[in-house]
């Protein structure tokens, strides 16, 4: 194909997206579209999968059977989200093995929020309420993204997320209506998860590199700063309802703008965690790599068994 032909195809491609047409896996697409999507969808999948680890930490120690069943179902959903997304990503011509390899070698990123530790039961409440809350704000606009398999996966994911946030808020509410000690535990969890949750919505617009192209492809519909504002505006009244204090002395409702003004985010901390120096980066990666390595003989055995059965079937038929 000549350069002119490609340019032509690219133009047709961009107008299709502008018209709100969906792109499906076998359609022609610019190489950059394919690569950007592989990167974003796989990062998203990795985040769902690594995201199981901080909460998995508390399944065996949940305070009641009701909480245990809910947490288990929630973590299982996150595994499902990872699988929907990996399967969407694979339609772009990358294999599951390559994707795992990118995660395990540290080449691929996942959401930095999962590199923080879960040290008390209240963290299960704070994660559901804040982390899943921020995830919902990030994900809802993606239900209309241009790549069909990604959009379809996101519709399914979003349907399941609202239970995650509600179960988390219920944990917070129960603690806040409990003893002094329990309420203090909830406050402590909010103190630790608030800022990382704000960071989760991504670097400020001024420092965000991919935004313009991503907007065109509907991989992004609102800027990071807009999403963050939306998250803060919706979450502050919920904290009030719990009777908890958001750990930001500069947080104040601005009558003029109709939004909350908030304090400076520590972006150094964010970049440190992204670069691998968060409190749990190593632990998370080790857990993933070990799970993959230690499961290898099981995968091989299942494959050998399947092949043996297949041979038997063929022998019987002949």
């Amino acid at each position: 194909m000549s350069e002119k032909d490609v340019k032509n195809l690219e133009e047709i491609f961009e107008t299709r997206i502008a018209r709100d047409e969906k792109i499906e896996p076998k359609d022609w697409m610019p190489e950059k579209y394919r690569q950007t999507h592989i990167r974003q969808i796989s990062q998203h999948a990795h985040s769902e999968v690594v995201g199981m680890l901080p909460e998995g930490n508390w399944i065996t120690r949940a305070p009641s059977l009701r909480r245990k069943a809910a947490l288990l179902a929630k973590v299982q959903d996150e595994a499902g989200h990872g699988l929907y997304l990996y399967s969407a990503c694979e339609t772009l011509g990358v294999s599951r093995d390559e994707l795992y390899e990118q995660l395990h070698s540290g080449k691929a990123k996942y959401s930095s929020i999962f590199n923080y530790p879960t040290i008390t039961w209240a963290d299960m409440g704070a994660i559901g309420w804040l982390v899943d809350g921020a995830a919902i704000i990030n994900q809802v606009p993606l239900c209309n993204t241009s790549f069909g398999p990604y959009a379809r996966a996101m519709v399914r994911v979003c349907k399941e997320e609202s239970f995650h946030q509600r179960q988390g808020f219920e944990i917070m509410l129960t603690l806040c209506r409990g003893t002094e000690e329990q309420k203090a535990m909830a406050q402590d969890a909010l103190n630790r998860w608030w800022w990382p949750s704000l960071m989760m919505l991504g670097p400020t617009d001024a420092e965000s590199i991919h935004t313009e192209q991503s907007m065109k492809w509907k991989l992004k519909r609102k800027s990071n700063d807009e999403l963050r504002q939306q998250f803060i505006d919706q979450t502050v009244p919920q904290a009030d309802l719990l009777g908890l204090t958001i750990p930001d002395p500069d947080l104040k409702f601005n009558e003029e703008t109709g939004h909350y003004d908030f304090g400076e985010i520590d972006w150094d901390e964010f970049w440190q965690v992204v670069k691998g120096h968060g409190p749990c980066n190593k632990e998370r990666m080790n857990a993933r790599v070990n799970a993959w390595k230690n499961g290898e003989w099981v995968r091989d055995a299942a494959m050998a068994y399947a092949e043996k059965n297949e041979k038997r079937k063929v022998a019987k038929a002949s």
Binding site: E24, K26, D27, W28, A73, Q76, D77, G80, L83, Y84, S87, A88, E90, S95, R96, D97, P149, R152, A153, E160, R299, D300, A302, M303, Y305, A306, E307, N309, E310
Partner: protein
Amino acid sequence: MENTKKNWPLWEIFVRSKNGLEHRHFGSLHAADAEMALENARDVYTRRNEGVSIWVVESKHITASNPADNGELFEPAQDKVYRHPTFYDLPDEVKHM
């Protein structure tokens, strides 16, 4: 060391959400064999009563049309307006037809 590592193949998953409806494509997953694909599909795609029946087909068995052939395949139908009821002029007195 053996170097011919075999990965679990990819399967396409189709789910009938209730009797009376057709099976619809839900996504894909990896499994060693058909039985495992069914079990995994149950866990991945029907955790909330999304289905009453599941089909699994190994992805390599699906032959798909090429979008580059769309003109050839689908355009001929575009100018056959006489295949639609609105093409036919009937007087207003004819009701319910």
